[in-house]
């Protein structure tokens, strides 16, 4: 359990600096400048504060601007004057000011920026906390956050030195990378001559690998996220977990010693581990018996607190496990997983399709049904026309006609498409891919995105050996490869790509894979001289997921790190999972 790192594994860089930086900036903005004493959540309802001054800390979104404008205008109507301050995070957008102006409140409001883009959620995990990134870029084609990403990378390189080896794949990755490079060039000298702390940076777009993100998670941390939703590194465990009438907010990170030992484990091992742990704990408590007074004093002052802490954590996670088991060990869940595995491996497609149909007919869950449809589409290079129609029809009947818009979104993002007759498509495709040079690319993506992108999952899976051949049972207690995060059935594509590129220190020999990923022009390696890089730093790798990453991917790469003596650090626009992906694509009635 909780495999230790190899003794030569490099130290992680200190991210507390980022936290301090962000905190100090915010405190300065809130206290020094605006003397804030109470915080309210920005919701679509009137602010009840009677204060003379209102301060809004918001994402730069038009929706938020309209909300603020309506508040200001309501005050005006009521003849009330107060001061309004808007702090945009991480930056102000011209469009926002424009809306304030159009709503006639620009003069009443003063604006500020909080350039905060990197939140350390854990010792090895940085999040930009931009869940909207996924929909904005991959659905709407909105490139507004690319600048934010470049700025964040720039901040990292000023704090932790230059990155001697850079790899990337995906259009958004490429644009962000180029913008970042330009920033570095403009502010030449800042990072020059600094010793690199992190040897490699690997950037990838979420759409390079939708499949992994669409799978049900079975590693503890991922499962907790799927079941209870981890928000900003903490989770609200409801009464069913705490077995009391109150909810409990629990921080989930490496500080939680119990959690740290089970977070990367396949769920089937977790309960056994926890009960063993409980027995050990009991034994330690039991040592009290037969202690003399001095020993007892020692025990109470030194050990008891730690034991109690551990006790508390244990009971929380045991509660969570029970709750998960109630939901996930039922036959339904087993069959769901079985279907997913069948889709990944590409057998019994008809049976899986019927399963999905039944899932829809029984109205099991709109998000789950959608997820399975997408998984079927991507693994099969699109649905055959008959299924495409009938599944969609069934879905609309079950979950409401407004999802016609959802399907239009999914098609645009390439998540749910219709198989087109082979030859004609290939012709168009090759034409398109010739056109897809960087600058021309944008011009045609709109029209052809769903057409140009064939997922080619089956071929990629074969090339990269994503479905491990298993003789006998896969021992989930002693994982042998990254597939353990999906019960031994599938190696996450994203993680496999990272593994392969790191092994080669380039994309060499992966041309076919890159082509199948529709990224022929969009995969790059950028290596500088490594004379300043220590061998320790060269085993430290920053992986950047644009559009979100899942806990399963994090667990898989942590495993890979332990195997190879690397340490991985993660930077993501947000933590994601299948439900979040689907929700981002769903249209709900206004």
């Amino acid at each position: 359990m909780a495999f230790p790192h190899r003794p030569d594994a490099p130290e992680l860089p200190d991210f507390s600096m980022l936290k301090r930086l962000a905190r100090d900036q915010l405190i300065y903005l809130l206290e020094q400048q605006h003397e804030v004493d109470k915080l309210y959540k920005v919701e679509s309802k009137p602010a009840l504060s009677s204060n003379e001054q209102l301060c809004f800390l918001v994402r730069p979104r038009i929706k938020n601007m309209r909300y603020i404008a309506s508040l200001v205008n309501a005050d005006k109507m009521a003849g009330r004057t107060r001061k309004y301050k808007v702090i945009f995070c991480p930056q102000k957008f011209h469009a926002c000011e424009m809306v304030l102006e159009e709503e006639g409140v620009y003069g009443d409001v003063s604006c500020d920026e909080w350039a905060f883009s990197l939140l350390p959620l854990d010792v090895d995990l940085l999040s930009m906390e931009l869940p909207e990134f996924f929909r904005d870029y991959f659905l709407e084609g909105d490139q507004r956050w690319i600048n934010t990403v470049a700025q964040a990378l720039h901040l990292l390189s000023t704090l932790y030195g230059p990155f001697p080896n850079c790899y990337g794949i995906g259009r958004c990755t490429k644009m962000s990378y180029e913008l970042w490079r330009r920033l570095e060039e403009e502010e030449d000298g800042e990072t020059k001559g600094r010793r690199p702390e992190i040897g490699h940076i690997f950037l990838l777009d979420r759409d390079v690998d939708f499949v992994t993100a669409l799978c049900s998670q079975v590693v503890y941390e991922g499962l907790v996220d799927d079941t209870f939703r981890i928000k900003c590194g903490s989770v609200d465990f409801g009464p069913e977990v705490t077995s009391s009438d109150r909810s409990l907010k629990v921080l989930l990170n490496a500080e939680d010693k119990v959690f740290n030992e089970i977070r990367n484990e396949h769920f089937s091992n977790v309960f056994g581990f926890l009960s063993q742990k409980a027995r050990n704990l009991q034994a330690q408590y039991d040592r009290r018996r037969g202690m003399d007074i001095k020993q007892m004093k020692n025990f109470v002052s030194q050990e008891l607190k730690g034991l109690k802490q551990e006790h508390r954590l244990l009971s929380v996670h045991i509660g969570a496990c029970e709750s998960i088991m109630k939901k996930k060990t039922k036959q339904d869940f087993q069959e769901l997983i079985k279907t997913e595995h069948a889709l990944l491996e590409g057998f019994n497609i008809r049976e899986s399709t019927s399963y999905i149909e039944e899932h829809i007919d029984r109205q099991v869950s709109p998000i789950e049904s959608l997820r399975l449809m997408c998984l079927l589409s991507i693994t099969e290079n699109g649905l055959i026309p008959k299924d495409y129609r009938s599944l969609k029809t069934q879905y609309l009947q079950s979950y409401g006609p407004e999802h016609l818009l959802t399907f239009s979104n999914l098609r645009r993002a390439g998540l749910l498409t219709e198989q087109a007759p082979g030859d004609t498509l290939t012709a168009v495709e090759s034409k398109v891919s010739k056109l897809v040079t960087d600058k021309a690319a944008g011009k045609i993506t709109d029209a052809f995105s769903s057409l140009a992108k064939r997922s080619n999952f089956r071929a990629i899976s074969k090339k990269l050996n994503l479905i491990p051949r298993v003789d006998g049972e896969y021992d989930l207690k002693v994982p042998r490869d990254m597939a353990y995060v999906f019960s031994g059935a599938y190696v996450p594509l994203s993680c496999r790509i990272i593994e392969q590129v790191l092994e080669r220190r380039s994309w060499q020999g992966l041309d076919e894979v890159v082509r199948l990923l529709n990224c022929s022009e969009l995969a790059f390696t950028d290596t500088t001289k490594e004379d300043k890089a220590s061998s320790e730093c060269l085993r430290l790798i920053l992986v950047v997921f644009l559009g979100g990453c899942t806990f399963s991917e994090i667990s898989a790469l942590r495993f890979l790190g332990r195997e190879k003596g690397y340490r991985f650090i993660f930077l993501t626009t947000a933590i994601t999972n299948s439900a979040r992906l689907m929700e981002a694509m769903s249209e709900v009635k206004a």
Binding site: I62, M98, E140, L396, L404
Partner: protein, 695 residues
């Protein structure tokens, strides 16, 4: 050895001085200095001379000449003075020559005699004329103080940011003060003036009488006063030949000296050598010079930084010398060479006799891609000189496309600005340009421009989606994007319309658009939705309750739960709900109602398309084992074991599994053998397994 000290003369008891010529002046003066207004800029800056014809009683008709020399007397400029009488000359910290006219108008010239601008010191000054003027330097810039004919002071602390301040009146002042100076205390400019034996300090609010600490008795008038360059020290010369030296705060006396000369000195100034702690006042009469020293002081000043030095060289257009100095001092490129080259380029673009191509090429050849050089700044300068084409040429050398945008917009090259903004990757910049374009172009042209720039288009669409829905529709219309138009109208059918007719109309428009987009599926689905919506409305009218916006499935379920089975059947037929769905739906609804009788009837209405296991499952979910068992017997052989286990009949499940000789089923049953009663069953299974292996 004594040759080193040979030309040193004693000064007091412990100090010596010597005199030697540093360099001789190169000028060839036509006028005597005494007839001229003279102003020398600080730090060895240029010297301005203006023969002062207005001082003489009879005004001559000859226009005077304004001459500017370098500190070593090299002529820099010479121009005929055509404006009014000048009272005073002085140099600003930026080496601009300020010529204060009698009427209070101040003309500003560069050190090459190029006219820069003019400003007035106000009406009061105009009316009462300028009697005297002082240019002074503070950390905020160069200030100007005027004494008018009405014996009032007007002051501006920074001529670069002109704010006139009229100082308060000095009570009982009938004639001009015998001497005055500006002081700078607590970051505010004051005026110290002497009237007979009295001293007054003027600030912008009040006039206060002040006294000097430790002043000797018997003073009836102050003839001269001098403030040190740093405004820390002050010296006054009295009619008794007595010199008082102290701090300019007037709080402390540093020293005093009686020189026994009662004649008013021509000039009195503070001086000090660089790095010297000794300060001294030099007093000059017609034929006598006197140096008066004070106590050592520990503060040093190094005001003239290397940057200022370079600025001054640049101002004198001595670009090569400046660059050599930078290289010699090994200054970083950005602070040194690049900056000087940028200045040179800005000068170059002003050379109107050279063609745009030549200027642009010359600049690019010299500058290349030197770091820290902003081509857009140089281009802005070119545009400022009215050379738009040159500006555009220069902008092409600017590597950061984002930097090109503001100037391109200013020059009304908005379309070019748009592509540069897109190149920069800065979406905010793109949006800024879009708003410019939107105002500049007519709608059609604006849309056309967007059409060719997908990145800008999607950005603008996002904006429209929230803020300008009608524009969004127009955008789709223009592109014949019927698919998106359809989606647009579907969205509208939810958001904008409350009435059913309105919503149906919006859906109809959507369906038409989908047909145009050849998306038959979406068109049909939309038509179905229209039908459903109308029907839901009718159901609400006839049956009450809530139907509108439910999915088809939920509509039928609601009908069954409300006991309207006939209506439900009808709806299922009308919308061709597949059998399987209908069975799931009815099964769930009837179980929810716990209408077991109806459920049984339904199960026997025909052969179930979903099998009978779901019946078992749903009954068990409702904890009705009795009903569940009824259906367990009807479950097909493949799922029989599962069904029997569900209803808890482990023994029979075992029998079926054994009969099937199915290993998976056997282990499934075995895993259910938990209770003590199941012992026999478990044994039975093990025996069957053993037998199967034997065979």
């Amino acid at each position: 050895m004594d040759c080193y000290t040979a030309n040193w003369n004693p000064l007091g008891d412990s100090a010596f001085y010597r005199k030697y010529e540093l360099y001789s002046m190169d000028w060839d003066l036509k006028e005597e200095l005494r007839d001229c207004l003279v102003a020398a800029a600080p730090y060895g800056g240029p010297i301005a001379l203006l023969r002062n014809p207005w001082r003489k009683e009879k005004a001559t008709s000859i226009r005077p000449v304004l001459e500017i020399y370098s500190a070593s007397g090299l002529p820099l400029a010479s121009l005929l003075w055509k404006s009014g009488p000048v009272v005073s000359l002085g140099w600003s910290a930026e080496e601009e020559l300020l010529c204060v006219q009698e009427d209070g108008v101040v003309l500003v010239y560069g050190l090459h005699g190029d006219f820069r601008r003019h400003f007035s010191m106000g009406n009061e000054v105009l009316q009462n004329r300028v009697l005297d003027a002082r240019i002074f330097h503070t950390e905020f810039g160069s200030g100007l103080a005027i004494l008018t004919g009405a014996h009032r002071f007007t002051l501006s602390a920074n001529v670069g940011d002109l704010k006139l301040r009229r100082m308060p009146e000095v009570p009982g002042l009938q004639s001009a003060p015998s001497c005055w100076t500006t002081l700078c205390q607590d970051r505010v400019a004051h005026i110290l003036l002497a009237v007979g034996p009295d001293l007054y300090l003027l600030d912008h609010a009040a006039c206060s009488a002040v006294t000097l600490p430790g002043l000797a008795l018997g003073v009836s008038s102050f003839l001269q006063m001098a403030v040190s360059f740093t405004y820390r020290h002050l010296a006054l010369f009295t009619d008794t030949g007595y010199i008082w030296m102290g701090t300019s705060s007037l709080k402390e006396k540093l020293c005093e000296f009686n020189c026994n000369i009662r004649a008013p000195p021509k000039q009195m100034v503070w001086c000090s050598r660089p790095r010297s702690k000794e300060r001294a006042v030099v007093v000059a009469w017609e034929r006598r010079l006197m140096v008066v020293g004070d106590a050592p002081e520990s503060i040093q000043y190094k005001q003239l930084t290397i940057q200022v030095l370079l600025d001054r060289l640049v101002l004198r257009r001595l670009y090569p010398l400046a660059i050599q100095i930078c290289e010699y001092l090994r200054l970083p490129e950005v602070q040194g060479v690049s900056r000087i080259l940028a200045h040179w380029a800005c000068y170059k673009v002003q050379q109107k006799d050279v063609s745009d191509e030549d200027v642009a090429r010359a600049i690019n050849q010299k500058l290349g891609d030197t770091p820290g050089v902003s081509y857009s700044d140089i281009a802005a300068r070119a545009y400022g000189c009215g050379r738009t084409e040159l500006a555009i040429k220069l902008l092409e050398y600017e590597p950061r496309s984002g930097e090109q945008v503001p100037l391109l917009l200013k020059m009304k090259r908005s379309k070019l600005a748009l592509s540069k903004a897109i190149e920069s990757g800065d979406t905010d910049l793109v949006f800024t340009v879009l708003l410019h374009l939107k105002n500049e172009l007519n709608r059609g042209d604006f849309f056309m421009t967007l059409r060719n720039q997908p990145m800008a288009l999607s950005l603008y669409r996002q904006f429209c989606k929230h803020q300008e829905l009608e524009t969004l529709k127009d955008l789709y219309n223009q592109d014949d994007n019927h698919q998106e138009l359809g989606s647009f109208h579907i969205r509208a059918s939810y958001a904008a319309e409350e009435r059913i007719e309105g919503r149906v109309a919006a859906l109809q428009t959507a369906a038409d658009a989908f047909y145009k987009a050849k998306n038959e599926f979406a068109a049909k689905a939309t038509e179905d939705q229209m039908r459903l919506l109308r029907l839901q409305r009718r159901l609400e009218d006839e049956l009450g309750g809530h139907f509108v916006d439910l999915s088809l499935h939920d509509t039928v379920t609601t009908l069954i739960l409300g006991g309207h089975s006939k209506r439900a059947e009808q709806l299922a037929r009308d919308f061709r709900i597949p059998d399987k769905r209908l069975w799931w739906l009815k099964l769930t609804a009837l179980a929810d109602l716990e209408d077991w009788e109806e459920l049984e009837k339904f199960s026997k209405s025909k052969k179930s398309p979903i099998g009978y296991l779901p019946f078992v499952e749903i009954c068990m979910k409702q904890h009705n084992k009795y009903e569940a068992k009824k259906y367990a017997s009807r479950v097909g052989p493949e799922q029989k074991v599962k069904a029997l286990l569900l209803v808890g009949d482990v023994a029979q499940a075992a029998d079926v599994a054994i009969e099937h000789r199915n290993e998976a089923e056997l282990s499934l049953v075995l895993s259910h053998c938990t209770g003590a009663t199941d012992g026999a069953t478990a044994d039975k299974i093990q025996r069957a397994r053993a037998q199967a292996q034997k065979k």
